[in-house]
């Protein structure tokens, strides 16, 4: 499955994932504490510069991911123009875009395997207490494997419906779809047990 990591290799791809996540936490907290337009504007400019540094392709795909925020930005702009508080509106809008932009930046520059390593590191104390974290790692692998598989089976169900009906498949398809997930889970459980269990 394709993850959201950017195929454009940046210098940040090589930085440790844990450090990037910690920096993101601090930056996000700072953004929510900052209440001046100038400060939020500066943070926004830094965020844009970080996107622009690896080149135009990276910048364009980063901006495309922020496009989903526009309905909320429209609401904020209309609201704060109507209530005559444009400065407050600017702070909220800039903070929203910068916070989401910085978080996306970490996602775009960190490989899935590096992220999973962070999860393993965070789960280490649980292992010391005696909990088995292999279940967690196996669960992650199973979801990554079975999401495209299930999606393909769902698409096949949709086609089977269309072959028999002129109407589009509606909610009725959810029942056989869930049934497939349940039955697949039983098969996977048997297969895991047959291979020696966990």
């Amino acid at each position: 499955m394709i993850s959201l990591t950017s195929p454009v290799e940046t210098r940040a791809h090589r930085w440790p994932a844990g450090a990037k996540l910690a920096a993101l936490c601090i930056a996000t907290m700072a953004l929510f504490a900052l209440d001046s337009v100038a400060g939020q504007g500066a943070a926004f400019a830094v965020m844009l510069a970080l996107y622009a540094a690896p080149g135009a392709v990276f910048l364009r795909s980063g901006v495309a991911r922020l496009r989903m925020l526009w309905p909320f930005l429209a609401v904020i702009v209309i609201w704060h123009l109507a209530t005559a508080t444009p400065a407050q509106g600017a702070v909220i809008a800039l903070r929203l875009v910068t916070a989401v932009g910085l978080a996306n930046l970490v996602t775009m520059t960190t490989r899935l395997s590096d992220m999973v390593d962070v999860v393993r590191w965070l789960a280490a104390p649980l292992r010391r207490v005696g909990l088995n974290t292999r279940a967690l790692e196996l669960g992650i692998a199973l979801v990554i494997r079975f999401t495209p598989k299930l999606a393909a089976k769902g698409a096949a169900l949709g086609q089977a419906w269309r072959a028999r009906s002129s109407r589009r498949p509606g909610w009725r398809i959810v029942l056989p779809f869930t049934l497939i997930a349940l039955d697949d889970a039983e098969h996977v459980a048997d297969a895991l047990k047959a291979r020696g269990g966990i």
Binding site: S3, Q88, L175, T178
Partner: protein
């Protein structure tokens, strides 16, 4: 143990797969996605504990950077975005839906699972509205106005969750762990 892990992982995958179903547009251009239906089904079918774990596993993969939220969204940006509260509320919604289905054993499954899914939906909205009011710096009431358009869609989904859970219970009584 193996069965629990397989069920939790497959239902996490089910939430993701339902997110790929294209959104149905209500009049006024409000999109309804099937993803939150998957969250409710996790609770009503797997029960409170396993349902919550399935949703948490799904969210972990979203935060790790897989585009599994409906519309191909994912990554860490969704937490701080305006709809982050809804995403964070997913496990709580599944827990409440599962708890009610487990505890309310009298009467038809469709009724208790449907009510449970509606209660889970209410919890989801509470989280979503609080998250939105924090990010957009509005009062909860003002944020609630922004999401009222989605309530009819989620009411329909609660009914569907009830009917699907009841039909599953007839087809695979042992697999519906909230009642097993």
């Amino acid at each position: 143990m193996e069965r629990n892990i397989a069920l939790i992982a497959l239902f996490a995958a089910l939430i993701a797969a339902l997110g790929l179903v294209p959104a149905v547009m209500l009049p006024f251009g409000v999109p309804i996605t099937a993803q939150s239906l998957g969250v409710m089904l996790c609770g009503t079918v797997l029960g409170a504990r396993r349902g919550t774990l399935a949703v948490l596993l799904f969210l972990l993969l979203v935060f790790l950077g897989l585009p599994l939220l409906s519309g191909g969204k994912g990554g860490l940006g969704v937490i701080v975005g305006p709809t982050g509260g809804f995403v964070i509320g997913f496990p709580a919604a599944a827990f409440v839906a599962g708890l009610i289905t487990e505890r309310w054993r009298r009467g038809p499954v469709a009724l208790s699972a449907g009510v449970a899914a509606a209660a889970g939906g209410a919890v989801l909205y509470a989280f979503g509205i609080i998250g939105m009011s924090l990010v957009l710096d509005k009062t909860p009431l003002q944020s609630a106005l922004l999401v009222t358009a989605f309530i009819p869609g989620d009411a329909i989904k609660a009914v569907i969750a009830g009917l699907v859970t009841s039909a599953l219970y007839r087809a695979r009584p042992r697999a519906v762990l909230s009642r097993a």
